[in-house]
Each structure stands twice: as C-alpha cells, then as structure tokens.
C-alpha cells in the first residue's frame, strides 16, 4: 500500500500501526470536511469498505471507517470526530454504496447523522424507538486517549497532541477550548492545502 494517498488532506494524524497488536496497518485521523475526499482516494486505490463503527468518547463521537484491500491487504482505520452537540458527518455512500447501511446503523445506535445520506431512516431499530441504545451516560464516557494508542506517528497536527494531553480539570471549558482549537486548525489547514 502506497502511503502517500493522504497527501493534501486535512489530516490530524497518520500513524503506522502494528498489525499483530491492533489488527490495523494504518490509523488516520481526519478533519470532517475532507472525509468524502479521503473516501474517493481510497476507492481509487482499490480499497473496499469493511464497516463503519462509532465509539462514544468524552471527546465526541469517534466515527471509525475500516477499509481493506482485496489484493494487497492491510487495514486502514479512518477516524473522524463529531462533537456531541452537533453529531454530523458527511455521508460516503455515494462512493462506497455499502456505507449506506452502515451509516443507518450508526444513526440507529448513536444518533450520529450523516449529511447527504439518501435514506436516513431506521435500519435495525424500530421506527418509533426514540432512543439510541449505545449512547454512554454522562460521566461514564472515557477520553479517547485512554483507549487509542497513537502508534508510529508519521504526520500530525497540534490537534492530535490535544487528544493525548492530560485531562483538564473542568470538563465544560475543556471541550469548548477544543472546539475552538479545532475550528482554528481546520481553517489553517484548509488554506495551506489551497495554497
């Protein structure tokens, strides 16, 4: 697998992982605005979609896309963070048709919406369920740094360091800061890639 496919994307980090220990070859954190772009590049590389999963962490909903390759195997985990107060990620179902059902499932279980999805109706849950079973209760959410290993970092932005920084005492202010930092990082990365 050529590891240059992610150049020019709004990356938070790219890490090479140990397949024996994690089952992953690469772990990629991405700014949400470049998700569709990344999916297109992976499609052009010949990858297929394995699944989409969500982890409800204190930092937000970590949406994880697993991709693999039929002829040169090596699992890629693409991760996007969606804040709890606005859980929205753009759909990739126009590139990988199979994402359609996976995204509907994620919406059933976590309430994460996928903007631009052609049919965002319940798939596994009843139409009148009115709740999302896999949401964690407030106070039971763990920070991502508690269960994600950074791996062998190839590329990273300051935002990546913020994920692994020690916990700040006040939960509310910490998350506000992070949102602000994220917005700033998005802006700078976007402008640099255009230039």
């Amino acid at each position: 697998m050529n590891s240059d496919w992610f150049k020019g994307l709004n990356l938070i980090s790219v890490s090479k992982m140990s397949p024996e220990k994690t089952g992953l070859a690469y772990s990629v954190y991405l700014g949400p605005d470049h998700l569709l772009d990344a999916a297109r590049r992976l499609y052009d590389l010949g990858c297929f979609i394995e699944d989409i999963s969500v982890v409800d962490a204190a930092d937000g909903f970590m949406v994880v896309y697993h991709f693999d390759h039929f002829t040169s195997p090596g699992r890629i985990a693409l991760r996007v963070l969606a804040p709890h107060d606005k859980p929205e990620v753009s759909t990739i179902s126009e590139v990988f048709s199979g994402a359609n059902w996976h995204e509907r499932e994620c919406h059933d279980f976590f309430g994460v919406s996928f903007t631009g999805h052609p049919n965002m109706t319940p798939l596994l849950m009843p139409d009148d369920a009115g709740f999302h079973p896999l949401l964690k209760e407030d106070g039971k959410r763990k920070r991502m740094s508690e269960f994600i290993s950074p791996g062998d970092v190839i590329v990273k932005s300051p935002e990546f360091d913020a994920i692994f920084a020690p916990a700040e005492p006040e939960e509310g202010s910490a998350s506000d800061d992070k949102v602000a930092a994220k917005a700033g990082a998005d802006k700078t990365a976007g402008s640099s890639s255009e230039a």
Binding site: T22, E50, V55, F70, T71, F96, P122, L124, P133
Partner: protein, 390 residues
Amino acid sequence: MLHTEREYSKLIAGDFYTHHMEPGPDDRTMILNMGPQHPSTHGVLRIVIEIDGEYILRAEPVLGYLHRMQEKMGELKTYLQYMPNMGRVDYLHALAWNWAYVGAVERLGGIEVPERAQYVRVITTELNRISSHLLWWGAFLLDLGAFTPILYAFDDREKILDLLQIPTGSRLTLCYFRPGGVVNDLTKDFIDGLREFIPHMRSRLPMYKGLVTDNIILRKRVEGVGIITEETCRRYGATGPVVRGSGLAYDVRRAEPYSVYDKFDFEIPTDKECDAMGRYNVRVAEIEQSLRIIEQALDAMPDGPHMVKGAPKVKWKAPAGESYFAVEGARGKIGVHVVSDGSNTPYRVKLRAPGFCNMSLFAEVARGVLIADAVAILGSLDLVIPELDR
C-alpha cells in the same frame, strides 16, 4: 384532498405496508412485500419490492425483525460472559464467530494460545464450515423447488453435529473457544469419528454433483442470474463466496493469515461467471478444501495443553486499548472490533457481519430481475438473518 384512487389506497395501506417506499408515478406498478414470513427469506427478512408484472423495478430490504442489540450486550457482560452470544450471531458457523471474538480479546490482552489449541480450532472451525455449507446447499435448492437435496444434506450434517457435540457439548449455538485456548481437548472418539467422516463426505460429493450440480433444471435457474461484478463487491464490501464467485481469490485465511492457517496447503476456489451458479460452485468446492485442511491438521496436531496457563477468568480485566480481528466465516469476512478502557467489560464491541454487507448489494442487483430470480439471488447470498440483524 385525495385526487385518485391510488392516493386513497396508499392512505389505507399506510407507511407500514410500503415502508418509506413511495409508489411509482403511474398505476402500472405494484408494491409487494416479500416476507417477513416468505419461505425464501429464511426467517424474518422483509423485502419491499415494486413490481411491473413479474419484474422487480425496485427492492428495499427491511431489516431488524431479529435485532437483539448484541453490541450492547457486549458492553454489559464481562469479556468471558459475552462468549455465548457469539454462537447466536450466526448459528450456522458459530465457531468462526467464537474465533473472531476470542481473537480480538487475545490480541488486546496479548494472550498466547498453545499450539495444540490452534490446531483444535482449525479442525473444529473447518468442520463447522462444512456443516454450514451443507445446510446452505440444501436450503438453497429447497428455495428453488428441489426438495430431495436437503434430506441428503441433513443426513451428512447430522454426522458433523454428532462429532462436534463431543468436544463442545452442544449442537448448534456452539460456545467452545475461550481466550487462551478451547474448553475441552479432542478425545479419541472424536478423532476416530472424524477420520471415518472424511472419506464418507468425499464419497458423497460426486453424488451431489450428479444429482444437483450437473442438473439442467438447476442450471437454467441460476446460470447468468444475479451478476455481481468485482467492482460491486468492492463498493459494498461483499466478501466470502460472493466475492470469490466474482473471480477474486480473496480469503482472510490467506490475505490476513491467523493462527496456523499458513501451514496448510489448500486452494481458494473461485469462479469467473459472477452469477448465482458461480457462488454455488465456490461453496461446493470449499467443502473439499475444508476436508483437506482438516486432514492436514489431524496429521500435524501436536500434543500439549489445550488451554494456556493463567487464561483469563470471568472477571478478567483487559488492558486498555483497541483491537480488530478478522476471520473467514462461511459467509465471508467476520470482523470484531473491541475497545477496552481497562475494566472487565468492553467499552465498545463492534461486530462486522459478512451477511450484512453481502445483503446490502441486493437492492442494486435485484433491479430489473424476475421475482423467481430474486429468490435465486437471495439464496446464493447465503443469508443468516440473526447475523444481519445482530
């Protein structure tokens, strides 16, 4: 205000009947429900189809009738207490799910598995795969109107279940693996029985071929039906016999070798036709390949413990981290993604069911086919509904 009779009938039928599927622009088409009690949907799959005469214009599978929230149960039970769920996700190839989950837990905890246990796992999982393929074979032909084959298939499958009952203690929802090994060692009864079963199963395969595979009635029903290209498989993430029936030799046992599979000599059957017959041929050929693997494993199986010393107990705490483990199930790539926060219950368990991904391409493939062909396509995907709905 209701202008036409059509709008009026839609109001009576309600959305439950059409399930978000808007009727087409004119009266030439009809919306029909296949399932949830249709015999060819094997359980409780429902497909809403819009038909023009005998032809399907649109199909929309409606899932969830067997949804049990397996992933939530994973978060509520400890690592070992969750094991019995695995045999209930896909009851036909229960041991592959057993393996995917213990594999993810072992990877997370860095648990070594003794050499003998690896071989025991290979032997029992391959045996389970044959039983799964046999049941599919019988049920697929039953869908197509052939009643006799399922009786032969059950006869052979019964012998496998009798064998698997010896080490596992159960016949269907097997729960045999544990992180660090397997529950019981293989006994002499089992090994002797298996040595007898292998030539028996081989002797049946030519009969299956003569009776069914070469049968013109079957071929007319499945040849050229349900074309799934490699590109479609890639977009939907279809794996297992579906992608191999599209000419691509993708098998997790080769692509991402786990356990001792790299020590065995076996072929990956493929078929270039991309149709239902191709998928049929792949599964039938896989029975022989599984027998080959079992033979080699029986010969090479070393002595030793079947469970590692200090294997996790019920309240075992996994180290914090995440792991993904994939195995080749009878229906395709089974993946389990476990996230641990360091406590004795997983923080998140994600189950990647191959049937779910294979089924998701049905809406696209069924467009424009005859209803009878849609039944053949559904059968050729080898669906196990609890796995789709989890």
